[in-house]
Symmetry: C2
């Protein structure tokens, strides 16, 4: 295949960020190339968000049987998990999601080039031994699970999310190394699917939580499902039957290991050194998060490759910003969204806005809600976990939240909108909260904050003028 | 028991509104009496929100078995429902919720009087043949399920929510008359628990929906679970084995009937005629929803008794407003919350802000999201339903929503906060929406609205000044 010798824009990487960038580029020009090495279909759909959620949905549906007898549903003990069938559905629907992505890729026709790209300069990219001259470059090469060099000898005894969902069955004893978002999700899901899971975390913080109360709560709840050894770095050594995992004083032999110790940007072989800008230890230059530009070069890095925030909605934003700026007359700055992370454990974990660690202790008020005795949660046998909300003492605004509660993925969005809009606790409390819902737990935490703030209100509602109220009637 | 001859405030009814009123009154005075006839424990906890949700949780947990095989969970066919056990748990937890209410009642000590109250004038209440002089009266006597006079002869063949949760078992064929919130909830839950349900609705609108698309969607989904005959008024006649329900051309014999045709305020015997203000056909005077006051009298009506909005959070607000104004130096007006109704079917039904019917067609834009192919919904086998959002064409603000979708109870709260804060669609779209979540379906509807509105934005994010962005870094 002969490539054109010039293209106005070159986008490297056909993942979420790259495709989002292309969509913006297309608004201005068709003179672009999308270069992709490796598999198509996005990290999210192929090996990330979607297959993991499919596994979790099956695991949680099966786990729910422990509530059945209390509800009055008999013979839950007859239920059995068919792990090959579970994985088969994971792949079937994953393929469906991937096929959706592929439609957008195919629609780009011969603008898509399969090949490995390497920068020669800020306006020259080498693709499959050809040099293409261009005006702007967008690098969106994604990321890869981190696997230490000496673990690679373990062969198929070592899994990552790249290989996990390809399994047709799993061995009975599995260690999950790393208790970040991916680690806790996979450990709990596989444990609930009947795998004998042992989890290792080098830190005491699970899933990136910084609030000690929330961290302790979820740690306690997960520990009841599978052992978690935290605080020491895990070392692996192969045995005849499997792998010996050692961390501190603990040694556990397992059949397989899932490495979930993080993801690294795919920037190693992309040729960034030719740009003449400083690179950090991971080979990443400084990137402006509001423009996605590298220094003042016509080069943009977006998505997991930027390492700024490896969550899909941020990755898509970065692609849009980079794509927009690549075809814009001048570089434009964009406001980024309120930070938000959700981890799909049960109970779910969510962090929104400022973390506990980021809050200035002297200026921060904390409101808390325990879900153990929350009415609706109890009705649904989901009564566990804790929510902690942070407010600015000086202006009464909600500034952040950390939680491990049922339906955290939903309440996180209410809180995110409130933080994004810089609302005060009093403003949030003016909204209706239905009954009986889990959001009443959130209101408990909000009211606890409100009690610590000065107010002239007798309760949630604001006074209004009589003539105004007549108009509303 | 001898009653005092005077009390500054008399609150009639120890339900949600009455207790909320007392809480405000207590901030100013201890010279009050709370008069209660009938059962203690609130409609919500005894026979409303809580027992219904307990029944629904069991029903939905059992119904979920139909998804098991697809997930890879085998032998769902072995599961069986133990209806007496289901009802037994409903009552057990209901009693727990009621006991929570009773704690607040008992804490009031001898301020609580059991007896039937009747107004003699705006400052005289007769209780158990004694007359008590008072300065202010708060009427919070609640409501009762409507049962037409000629249905009462059916004895225990006729159930309402007052008697339903007292059953230890149910007959196999049950008709539910009335497809409002309570009717659809109970019909679906009992059908899922194995009862042969036939539903009747005098109108085509289910659960108060006014958006024809949403109504059609939920009608279609519920019809797949049990027959719904709508458009004709149901007539009942007793048969040897049960009850014959006739509506239009349809006649169905059932064992029992659940009447769910509405609730009426308990104001008949309270003596309102002594106030000298006009009463409507249902015996209710005009009540200012911002003060809960009746005309300019020292009399307030709050909660279900006001018939303004028989949902718990509004009822509690009315109690607070009435209680506050009863002890306030002058009557204060309070802003009421954004309207919100949630019906706990599956998928859930929610209406927030203005209904489709209330929206001015010429000024309203509609954004829609179908959940049949929504990614996360599909992963969880919950992919059904539709959300419709309404925006004001002139100012770009979200003004209302109707939906029947999975997790509507949660998304309703995001939308309610947005409407309460009078946010524009563009402002809402600046919030983070995680992936993969059902809220992405909501975003689809929001973006569909945004496309119909004028904007200078390339995508969701706002441009910001470079210096501003530096400050944020």
């Amino acid at each position: 295949m002969t490539l054109p010798v010039t293209a106005e824009i070159i986008v490297i990487g056909a993942g979420t960020a790259g495709l989002a960038a292309v969509k913006q580029v297309q608004k201005q020009t068709d003179d672009f190339l999308l270069i992709n090495a490796g598999e198509y279909g996005t990290t999210c759909a192929r090996v990330g968000c979607m297959p993991s959620k499919l596994l979790i949905e099956a695991a949680n549906a099966y786990h729910r049987r422990h509530c059945f007898d209390t509800f009055g549903i008999r013979h839950a003990e007859s239920l059995a998990i068919d792990l090959p069938a579970v994985f088969s559905r994971v792949r079937e629907l994953r393929d469906y999601y991937v096929s959706g992505v592929m439609k957008s890729v195919h629609a780009l026709g011969n603008r898509v080039v399969t090949g490995r790209a390497k920068l020669q300069s800020y306006n020259q990219v080498q693709v499959n031994d050809q040099i293409i001259q261009c005006k702007k470059i967008i690098i969106a090469t994604g990321s890869t699970p981190i696997v230490p060099e000496n673990w690679k000898t373990l062969g198929n005894k070592l899994l990552t999310t790249d290989s996990l969902f390809e399994q047709s069955d799993l061995k009975s004893r599995i260690a999950v190394i790393g208790m970040g978002a991916i680690g806790v999700e996979m450990a709990q899901a596989l444990s609930r699917l009947g795998i004998n899971i042992t989890a290792f975390s080098s830190t005491q913080q699970l899933a990136g939580l910084t609030d000690p109360e929330v961290n302790q709560s979820i740690h306690h709840l997960l520990q009841a499902e599978f052992p978690i050894y935290s605080g020491d770095k895990a070392e692996l050594s192969e045995t005849a039957n499997g792998v010996l995992v050692s961390a501190g004083k603990v040694s556990v032999e397992v059949d397989q290991v899932i490495a979930a110790i993080g993801r690294q940007a795919n920037l190693k072989h992309i040729g960034l050194e030719c740009l003449g800008v400083p690179l950090n230890d991971e080979g990443i230059p400084e990137i402006n998060p509001h423009t996605m530009q590298v220094a003042d070069l016509p080069v943009f890095i977006a998505g997991d490759a930027s390492s700024l925030n490896m969550v899909l909605h941020e990755v898509a934003d970065e692609g849009r910003i980079a794509g927009h700026n690549a075809v814009s007359a001048s570089i434009e700055h964009f406001c980024r969204r309120t930070p938000m992370r959700i981890v799909f454990t049960d109970p779910e974990i969510a962090c929104i806005g400022m973390t506990n660690e980021q809050c200035n202790e002297a200026n921060t008020l904390i409101g808390q809600a325990l879900f153990e005795d929350q009415g609706r949660a109890r009705a649904g046998q989901q009564n566990k976990g804790v929510m902690r909300l942070y407010a600015d003492r000086n202006n009464g605004r909600l500034i952040g939240a950390e939680m491990a509660t049922p339906a955290a993925e939903h309440m996180a969005h209410v809180l995110a909108l409130a933080i994004e809009q810089q609302l005060t606790i009093a403003q949030i409390l003016a909204m209706p909260i239905y009954h009986p819902v889990l959001e009443e737990g959130m209101r408990t935490a909000l009211r606890q904050l409100q009690k610590q703030l000065p107010t002239d209100k007798a309760f949630d509602l604001s006074r209004c003028e009589a003539f105004h109220s007549e108009a509303l009637d």
